[in-house]
Symmetry: C2
Subunit: 111 residues, 2 copies
């Protein structure tokens, strides 16, 4: 891949920042199972409505979610399933690191 210019690096960084927040990741994870209304997310996450709404807005603005009104409610759903590839890669790395630390500490029970 060609070298990214400063503006592009900014855009990539801004995108990663969207994913750099536990509440937003929890929302994505929940929506991965099923589309949800704001209230359903508020309940299942145990977070405040204002905050869930704010974080949903950030995820939506980043182009990660779809949104549609359903009567009185608003239903959010995943627009970009590719983001979960990102999470898989990161989880894989974190897991490997954890195993490595454990092996070094406990004397390599190794896998």
């Amino acid at each position: 891949m060609a070298a990214l210019k400063p503006d592009q690096l900014d855009a990539v960084a801004r995108f990663f920042r969207v994913l750099a927040e536990p509440t937003r990741l929890a929302i994505l994870q929940e929506l991965r199972r099923n589309p949800r209304t704001v209230n359903e997310l508020v309940e299942s996450l145990g977070a405040k409505q204002a905050n869930v709404s704010k974080q949903l807005g950030i995820l939506f603005d980043a182009g990660l979610l779809d949104r549609k009104r359903s009567g009185n409610s608003v239903v959010y759903s995943i627009r970009e399933p590719a983001i979960f590839e990102l999470c898989e890669i990161v989880c894989g790395k974190l897991k490997r690191d954890a195993e490595k630390r454990y092996a070094a500490f406990a004397g390599k029970p190794r896998r």
Copy 2:
């Protein structure tokens, strides 16, 4: 993939945050081409030494870089090439989004 628990979401978010910074991305991009000393990075990035050193520390602590002394200098190199997969995925999405916005604005020259 199984649902991640709050602690795991925290860890993933913390990892993404490391990538959510243009200077750090620039460093990774530079190191992808070749291992570099701190001073070489300072020159090629046009950033202050203190800041480059700080950001290198953050990348190193995240397990993304290797570090070795070479005489008076310290040479950093990529430890986890997998991170570039992440960047590719993000770049791909940003590019698609940009194309979509352009098509909608200019009347679908399409692709």
